[in-house]
Subunit: 85 residues, 2 copies
């Protein structure tokens, strides 16, 4: 069994309205040193397999088809072996 | 200037409906090895200061007050010095 972490970010050229909104809130609260806030997703899950190549393939397909939008987002991932519970 | 990364996750005991929904979609597409999907936030921003203690304080307040919900989420952060553009 492997534990995977996938990080999904909007491409740098694509506007991030959520980040802009949070930053506007920050200004109102007096955070004047914060800039360039961009909000992406941090996803954790388990893959129930012990074949590293199969695990990689499963993570890439899951991330590419369900966790990210291939038109405007990129993803990166890492994984590590964990003991079955 | 520092670049900060904040990761916000729901506490482990708190239900993650978004993760459950994505995983249900995964089952329909034939991903049968994936389990325990939990979706959090990955946030990047810049802090315009060169005083490490001030940077830490700013990140902690920004993350605690605006980026996370202290009732049901935890955050962790890291930061590194970057050159001003």
């Amino acid at each position: 069994m492997y534990k995977a972490v996938v990080i999904v970010k909007r491409r740098p050229t694509i506007l991030d309205p959520e980040g802009k909104a949070v930053e506007q809130g920050a200004r109102l609260l007096g955070f004047n040193n914060v800039s360039g806030t961009r909000i992406g997703k941090y996803i954790e899950f388990y893959v129930n397999s012990d074949d590293v190549e199969a695990v990689k393939k499963e993570i890439e397909e899951y991330a590419g088809k369900l966790l990210s939008n291939p038109i405007m987002e990129d993803f990166e991932y890492s994984f590590e072996k964990v003991e079955n519970d």
